[in-house]
């Protein structure tokens, strides 16, 4: 490992070292505010580092890329971690979270996500994925007085462990079949014939199961709503944005590194995308719980991503990166509103608790409206541009049928997102919830600004994301 490698790893190192330091400090100092503030600082520094250090040329240890693509996601996830920590400031305090551990775990997972987004080999993929999954196991059930938190943690753990098993064995088989962990060559092995090809294919199938679990493709999606519901709202935000987003980015890396090698997978992915979008849409329709609704809707969004990944075109990858960004921002905003409305009594997850909130807390209701509309794909928000890019890439790549289904799914998505919005503005007698802190409001404003900015003036970001992709 050279100096250059270290420099290339700098953002991740900042995160990891910051996390370790805070973990240790947390052992002596229990005051949450300075710890979380420290965590925010670390995350911001990491983002700045990622933005400032020049992208490395070669792969780090043959495992991770430090190309602009990876850098972009490092910044994104570091910023996400910072925003989530900001949102957690009051939330964690009120629930007496062990602040040192909490901050450290979030930073660790951000580091894992940053690594995963740049993984170029199966080993890197496995290690980074596992590193943040482990952190998330703990985070999901971090609230020790919460029954549903414990249950969510259990479910995530069991299923995650099984998925790890699938992944490890899948990688092992791929290695056995191709003799390499490096993605392009391993993928190339898929095409070449030979005795070991069945093993290779089997390995890819197992890997697909594991990745499908992470981004909740049908039928590996069943854990999603439960875990979303049970986890603390900021952690759900991390799950929804970082965990899914990083795997999405990894998919771009995996699939993009050897275009054409995975043509055999296309019909399968097509089918998965279709099932995911349909099931997600239909299940979200009757939901009365905001977190579950967002969980099911996240399925649909992953379906959109697959739709644009299928053509294997640069436009598609660029669109996916753009969409991941706006999706992350909008989800963060939505969960942020939920977090800031939570008080020590609990999170107002039930839609019934949201009646008329638009009149009592107009700003946050507006933020939630904007974010949900962005998720639905309303013009003027980033979500529209993102979907536009996704669907035009899909249609251009010849996947018109899937694109039409995706558009149909987004029609249904309007139905359930709008239901929430209408509830927000329905009653004249809103319940009293937490009025939120200025910091929370600031975070929400950042999110909504990003949502609108990417909708109104998406040119620069579109160009950037298009330039990033392999």
């Amino acid at each position: 490992m050279t100096m250059l490698d270290l420099l290339a790893l700098a953002p991740v190192l900042v995160l990891v070292m910051g996390a370790s330091t805070l973990l240790m400090v947390g052992a002596w100092h229990h005051e949450p505010r300075p710890l979380i503030a420290g965590g925010i600082a670390v995350a911001l520094v990491a983002a700045a580092t990622a933005g400032m250090t020049p992208p490395g040329g070669a792969e780090i240890a043959g495992l991770f890329s430090s190309a602009p693509f990876a850098r972009y996601f490092a910044i994104l996830w570091a910023l996400t971690a910072a925003l989530i920590l900001m949102l957690s400031l009051r939330y964690a305090g009120e629930r007496a979270f062990a602040a040192g551990e909490y901050v450290a775990l979030i930073l660790f997972s951000a580091a894992g996500m940053a690594l995963l987004s740049g993984a170029t080999s199966l080993v890197g993929l496995f290690l980074s994925l596992e590193s943040f999954t482990l952190a998330l196991y703990i985070l999901v059930s971090f609230h020790r007085n919460s029954d549903i938190g414990a249950e969510a943690g259990l479910k995530y753990l069991v299923l995650g462990a099984v998925a790890t098993g699938f992944m490890a064995f899948g990688i092992a088989l791929i290695y056995a079949a191709s003799g390499t962990f490096h993605l392009p060559e391993a993928l190339a092995g898929l095409q070449t014939g030979g005795q070991l090809r069945p093993w290779g294919l089997l390995g890819w199938g197992l890997l697909l199961v594991a990745l499908g679990f992470k981004i909740s493709l049908v039928p590996f999606h069943l854990w999603t709503p439960d875990v979303y519901q049970g986890a603390p709202a900021p952690v759900t935000a991390l799950l929804a944005t970082g965990s899914k987003g990083a795997v999405g980015a990894a998919l771009v890396m995996v699939l993009g590194s050897a275009a054409g090698a995975w043509q055999e997978l296309v019909p399968l992915l097509w089918l998965l995308a279709l099932a995911t979008m349909l099931v997600g849409s239909l299940c979200a329709l009757p939901q009365e719980n905001l977190k579950r609704l967002l969980a099911y809707s996240s399925l649909v969004h992953m379906g959109y991503l697959l739709t644009a990944l299928l053509p294997g075109s640069p436009e598609g990858y660029g669109a996916v990166v753009f969409y991941l960004t706006v999706y992350a921002v909008a989800s963060l905003g939505a969960f942020g509103v939920l977090t800031s409305l939570s008080d020590p009594r609990g999170e107002p997850q039930d839609l019934a608790a949201w009646r008329g909130l638009g009149y009592r807390y107009p700003l946050r209701a507006l933020v939630l409206t904007a974010c949900l509309l962005s998720l639905a794909g309303m013009p003027l928000t980033g979500g529209f541009i993102g979907k536009f890019a996704l669907f035009s890439a899909a249609i251009k790549g010849g996947f018109t049928g899937l694109a039409v289904i995706a558009i149909f799914a987004s029609l249904i998505s309007f139905a359930y997102y709008l239901r929430v919005v209408m509830v927000l503005y329905s009653s004249d007698d809103p319940r009293e919830l937490h009025s939120g802190t200025p910091l929370e409001h600031a975070v929400l404003l950042v999110c909504v600004t990003a949502v609108l900015l990417t909708g109104l003036y998406p040119g620069p970001l579109l160009d950037l994301t298009a330039a990033l992709v392999p």
Binding site: K155, A163, F166, L202, V209, P219, H221, L222, D226, P286
Partner: protein
């Protein structure tokens, strides 16, 4: 003088109408009434003043462009010529008198501004029909009179029936308007213009079938406004309006608009023999139909309404027989005497204390004012066609025209006309006897009659009696003034020997006498009215209303219900709602997969894995 000033003739009543509608209730009552009367009187005077403009080919005046889009350019233009000038004179003159009468008639009415506003607006619209140079301006007036008729029939809107009668009148006449509009569109498509003069000039170039089609459309359009079969059901109900309205709109002017339309387009209409025959048939049949209905009516105004229908039928017959002059002569005299009759009827109703039923009247000749009896009698004589009255000459000319056509069809129609003449005399004198003869049957004392309700009757009655002078046949040394005045517009030359004419006149006289005799025999002394299925059949206008209800209104309501409730609610909405419900139900079912049990979730894993495995096996096999 400027030709554009001709526009003052219709626009003055319009201005007064608008003023009355906007500010009428704020103005002193006298002022509002004066405004209304003066507006109409002024246009009468203007018409007299501009009389010379109608000489020769008449005068055309253009105010400006109305519509211009693509190839269609339609101006606001008037045509003041030999046909429109006398009509204008009649309309404004009769209207002036009726306005005066109305001032008296409505002196207790609170909502006078609306009444006079609408009445003035009506005069404007009627003048637009009469003076229109192109069919669209005519259509404007055509719809306008329909609107005013609607508003005035339902003037006393508190009674639902009145307003319904107005609606019925509007809708039935609107059916006719559709045909007129169709003719209008067709003519525009054929000629690229709507100018009446241009259309008449180009009509000779149309194919015979086109001509017949156009004529039939125009005829049906005319039928609506003129209450001819089959669009006649509204007129009798229209009597729900105040009497001046019935006099002006439903006797003197609006109902003759159809005749006027056919006369206006006579050069076109006359080119189609089949069309002409159709017009004559419609006229004769309506005349006969309405006369029979009039026989059994019990309300004084309904008798007059059916008689109007019948007389307008004569005018149609005249047009069909090719005699525009005959039609116009009858139109003018009929306007005078029928207006007089209606106004007298209004007086009678007023005297008897708003009693409408002639069976409950009686004895008014001796108990009521003498002059009223004389006026009514004068009008009745005209209507019955008693010799030497205006009605006698004009009706005779029509029958002569039909007879001289010579074809079997027209002879048949002539026969119907004769029969109608007999019936006319019969119901007219029935009316006279029931109202004036004998002893009072229903009312106890007589109400006062305002002065303004008395004297406007005289000029009209006199004009009716002397109306024969308008177009006095050469037979009795007359100059046929109207026919010469109309010149080229007068229609066919009626050629008949003096012998024939004398014979026909004698026949008509005989019929009048016969009718009078029969009425006298039956009604001179009141013996109650027949009440049998036959009379009820006639009373209800041969069941026309029931038939329309059965054949048109109910199916329409049913179709409307089908559209609103069947298609929209039960089909489209239910489909959509069902779709939405199904989707939600699907979602509910899929949700249940998320059972909460880890084992289920693991099973999902395995199923997914097996599917993927299956896929790869398939890929391997290939």
């Amino acid at each position: 003088m400027n030709q554009t000033l001709l526009f003052l003739i219709p626009l003055l009543p319009l201005a007064c109408a608008v003023a009355n509608m906007l500010f009428g209730m704020r103005l002193p009552r006298l002022f509002a009434e004066t405004l209304a009367v003066c507006g109409v009187a002024a246009s009468f005077l203007l018409t007299v003043l501009f009389w010379s403009y109608a000489d020769g080919d008449g005068t055309r005046a253009v105010l400006g462009t109305w519509l211009a889009a693509g190839e269609a350019t339609i101006p606001f233009a008037l045509q003041f010529d030999a046909l429109s000038a006398p009509m204008t004179l009649m309309v404004t003159g009769v209207a002036t008198l009726i306005h005066l009468y109305a001032v008296g008639y409505m002196h207790e009415e609170e909502d006078y501004a609306r009444f006079f506003g609408l009445l003035n607006l009506f005069v404007f619209a009627m003048l637009a029909i009469v003076l229109a140079d192109n069919l669209l301006v005519l259509f404007l007036g055509w719809e306008g009179v329909g609107l005013c008729s609607y508003g005035l029939i339902g003037f006393w809107y508190q009674k639902t029936g009145n307003a319904r009668a107005g609606t019925k009148a509007f809708l039935v006449t609107r059916v006719g308007d559709v045909f007129l509009a169709a003719a209008l569109l067709w003519l525009f498509a054929l000629t690229g213009t709507l100018s009446i003069g241009a259309i008449n000039a180009q009509a000779a170039g149309f194919a015979p079938a086109v001509l017949t089609g156009l004529t039939v459309l125009l005829l049906l359009g005319a039928c609506g406004k003129s209450a001819q079969l089959p669009l006649m059901t509204w007129l009798a109900d229209a009597m729900a309006g105040p009497t001046p309205v019935s006099a002006l709109i439903h006797a003197a002017t609006m109902v003759t608009a159809g005749v006027y339309l056919l006369c206006r387009l006579f050069p076109l209409v006359s080119l189609s023999p089949a069309g002409m025959a159709a017009i004559a048939v419609v006229g004769a049949v309506t005349a006969l139909y309405a006369a029979t209905c009039a026989l059994a009516q019990r309300e004084i105004k309904r008798v007059l309404a059916y008689s109007t229908m019948s007389q307008v039928g004569y005018m149609f017959l005249a047009v069909g027989a090719g005699s525009v002059a005959g039609a116009m002569a009858h139109l003018l005299t009929h306007a005078f005497f029928k207006a007089a009759l209606f106004m007298a009827a209004g007086c009678i109703i007023h005297l008897a204390g708003d009693e409408n039923d002639i069976l409950r009247m009686g004895g008014l000749a001796r108990r009521g004012p003498r002059q009223l009896f004389l006026v009514f009698l004068a009008g009745a004589l005209c209507l019955a066609g008693a010799p030497l009255t205006g009605g006698f000459f004009s009706k005779d000319a029509i029958l002569l025209a039909a007879y001289t056509q010579g074809t079997p069809l027209f002879l048949l129609l002539w026969g119907a006309g004769l029969l109608t003449a007999l019936l006319t005399a019969l119901y007219t004198f029935r009316l006279v006897y029931l109202v004036f003869a004998g002893e009072p049957r229903g009312y106890s004392h007589l109400h006062d009659l305002p002065q303004l309700m008395r004297w406007p009757l005289w000029p009209l009655a006199l004009l009716g009696l002397l109306g024969g002078l308008l177009n006095l046949p050469a037979l009795v040394g007359g100059g046929e003034w109207l026919r010469h005045r109309l010149g080229a517009l007068a229609g066919r030359e009626i050629a008949a020997t003096h012998g024939t004419e004398w014979a026909l006149a004698g026949l008509a006289t005989g019929l009048v006498l016969l009718g009078w005799g029969a009425a006298r025999w039956r009604y001179a002394r009141f013996r109650g009215e027949w009440d049998n299925p036959g009379s009820r059949f006639l009373l209800h206008g041969w069941g026309a209303d029931a038939a329309v209800d059965l054949l048109v209104v109910r199916p329409f309501t049913a179709i409307a219900g089908l559209c609103a409730l069947g298609i929209d609610r039960a089909l489209v909405d239910a489909t959509l709602d069902g779709l939405a419900r199904q989707t939600t139900a699907c979602g509910e079912r899929l949700r249940r997969l998320t059972s909460g049990h880890v084992s289920t979730y693991l099973a999902g894993f395995i199923w997914g894995f097996l599917i993927i495995l299956g896929w790869f096996l398939l890929a391997l096999v290939r």
